[in-house]
Amino acid sequence: MGLTSHALPEDCGGGGARSAVTQALMAEELACGDLALALAILSPLLLSLPLADYGSDAQKQRYLPGLAGPDFRPGALAVAEPRFDSDALRPRTRARPEGKGYVLDGVKCLVPWLEGVPCVGVVAQDEDGPQIFLVDAEAEGLRAEPAQYMGLRALPLVELQLESVRLPRSARLGEGAGSDVAAILARGRVGLAALATGVARAAFELARDYAKQRETFGAPIATRQSIAFLLADLATEIDGLRLLTWEAAWRLDRGEDARREAALASQQAQRVVLEAADGAVQIFGGHGYVREYLPELLLRNAGGFAGFEALTLV
């Protein structure tokens, strides 16, 4: 559909119009529709962007044509680990050099795993620090177990068990040169901030429309300052978050180091998305608590942003 391939270089079969700002806009729009669907649609970027940036020629040739082609081909990146202090830059998943390759051991979680995913980029610690390893979905020793979370129920997510997964040296992204995982994760944080903006906006718009239509004591609840000011604050916070996100993306597009901006945007994102979803549930009252309406779904999705890592990239 072009949504995820237009950003790839032309020699990789893409549209050659790489722009983090554009990706952020797209991520917000899609997430404003539905976060799970957005993550599914955007999943090819999880592989294609790091490949485009850091992949060796052989790696690009092998994987990119599929990801940039006319058929939808999902991608997967395994960053988070199922523990209390999951730290993307210091993964406990290890890539131990052995003979002519690596042996990977560890557990990853919150990995999007759509039907037909060809391979997954696994962040693991090797002798150079955190690096990404391209592991075929069918590799021996790799087990993808469906996992359930509070939200994102419409997205197939798995916990990945890696037990002595043997890989050739050529499976390391960028091979000898490796990749800059911190920079990739900064792109993931901006992506999360954009997704959060979308979810927050969806919550705000639902709440605003409901507040105008729902009457108590003879007047729409939006005419009460407690509701109206909550909506005003949400609108302001969401706009502020969007601008922070755009600025971080814009810096990325200029080739600047945007780790600080990405960190600030994603910190704000966690707060704002939760406030917006919680606010929508509150404004919907009892109806906000039932699955017949969307706010409860938004709250369940919003509740995960503190644990999400790189579910899309910009």
Partner: protein, 406 residues
């Protein structure tokens, strides 16, 4: 003036008793009945009916409401959804106690102490277009002078335990209906509708964010007839005395004054479950909370945990104060709303923070933290939303009638 935060010995015994029950009987069922949303938790119901309620410590009176709060906290620490499925009179029973005659109390409530099959009470007040605005009730009750019966018509939503109360013989639903829509609050009365009464029909069950073990029913009443003496209170509509004559409505509100500290305590139980889980996990990971470190040396987690603890304890003390005032028969509607407002918000934040602090682990259904976040949020909504409680507090502290502040 004596300031004393000590619970009575009997209340402490009750706390230990309910804590064991929560830990041994409820927690093991938590995840299952969260997932099987519309399945009644039969083993829990049976246990509570056959053993749990009978072995509960009793006596040593005087601190009844505080003990009720302690019980609610412990059991909701166990599971807030399961707590709401307990075969008890619940809000229905509270309404009979608040507005019924002694004879009605005996007639409707004694079976809850009996040895038949388990039964439930429930309260049906909310309607699709009357949420916070209870005075807008559209459900009608009309007297059939020929038979001396009340004929009820209307639809009620968000009726907690409405399925159990309406289906199992011996239980009942207290339905709020108006005798005269033009009379506003003064025309609103409550009626005891026994389970199985023809015309009362369970037409739907909500699928919810949390407290999924508990059923939240939609009930319709179509020419539903109950005998004359199922009306709680008086049938008289005090004409033109809107500000003062609405006793039926007032007794509903009195029920809320009594129930709000309990709801606050329920919230606190859920929040405590999440907080204790976080603290235990941190301990397991070797992270210590240094309470007397200077603020500028704290880690973000230490400060978060301290904030969560302070918020929870502050809510708990507000809750106990409101309950203690009830025991003293002092008016406590300000304090009850403070407790409810504070607990609902504090616990919403505490559980959201708990999920966030634990990262992917907190978000996974492998632990109960994500469930507690979902369960907690109901406390900011039912029995008066956050906004309604703020309104009540504001009117009291400003000494404004409701006409001045809406």
């Amino acid at each position: 003036m004596a300031i004393d935060f000590e619970l009575s010995q009997e209340t402490r015994a009750a706390r230990d008793y309910y804590h064991r029950m929560a830990s041994e009987k409820m927690r093991p069922l938590s995840r299952r009945y969260d997932e099987d949303e519309h399945e009644p938790p039969q083993e829990w119901i049976d246990y509570y009916w056959r053993e749990g309620r009978k072995q509960a410590p009793s006596g040593g009176g005087g601190d009844g409401m505080v003990r009720g709060c302690v019980q609610a906290e412990e059991l909701c620490w166990g599971d807030a959804g399961l707590y709401l499925t307990m075969p008890v009179g619940a809000l229905g029973g509270a309404a009979v106690l608040a507005a019924g005659t002694r004879e009605q109390q005996t007639r409707f409530l004694s079976a809850f102490g009996g040895d038949g099959p388990p039964i439930w009470g429930a309260m049906a007040i909310t309607e699709a277009s009357a949420g916070s605005d209870s005075a807008a009730i559209q459900c009608t009750a009309r007297r059939d002078d020929r038979t001396g019966e009340w004929v009820i018509n209307g639809t009620k939503i968000f009726c907690t335990a409405g399925r159990q109360a309406s289906l199992h013989p011996g239980g009942f639903v207290v339905v709020w209906a108006t005798l005269d829509r033009d009379a506003g609050r003064a025309g609103i009365k409550s009626f005891v509708v026994p389970a199985g009464t023809p015309g009362m029909k369970l037409v739907g069950l909500e699928e919810k964010l949390g407290i999924r073990a508990s059923d939240t029913a939609t009930l319709t009443f179509e020419d539903c007839r109950v005998p004359d003496d199922h009306l709680l209170g008086s049938a008289e509509i005090k004409q033109r005395a809107r500000g003062s004559g609405d006793k039926g409505f007032r007794s509903a509100m009195a029920t809320f004054d009594a129930s709000r500290p309990i709801v606050a305590a329920m919230a606190i139980g859920v929040g405590r479950a999440a907080l204790e889980h976080v603290k235990r996990r941190l301990e397991e990971e070797g992270v210590e909370i240094r309470y007397d470190a200077p603020p500028r040396e704290l880690t973000a987690i230490e400060r978060d945990v301290m904030e969560m603890e302070a918020e929870l304890q502050s809510a708990r003390l507000l809750c106990w104060r409101a309950a203690w005032m009830m025991n003293q028969r002092r008016p406590n509607s300000l304090e009850a709303s403070m407790a409810k407002a504070k607990a609902g918000r504090a616990v919403t934040r505490i559980t959201q923070k708990a999920v966030a602090l634990l990262g992917p682990e907190g978000y996974s259904t492998r632990s109960l933290v994500e469930k507690w976040m979902r369960d907690a949020k109901i406390n900011d909504i039912y029995e008066g939303t956050q906004q309604i409680n703020q309104l009540i507090i504001a009117r009291r502290i400003l000494d404004y009638p409701s006409s001045m502040l809406r």
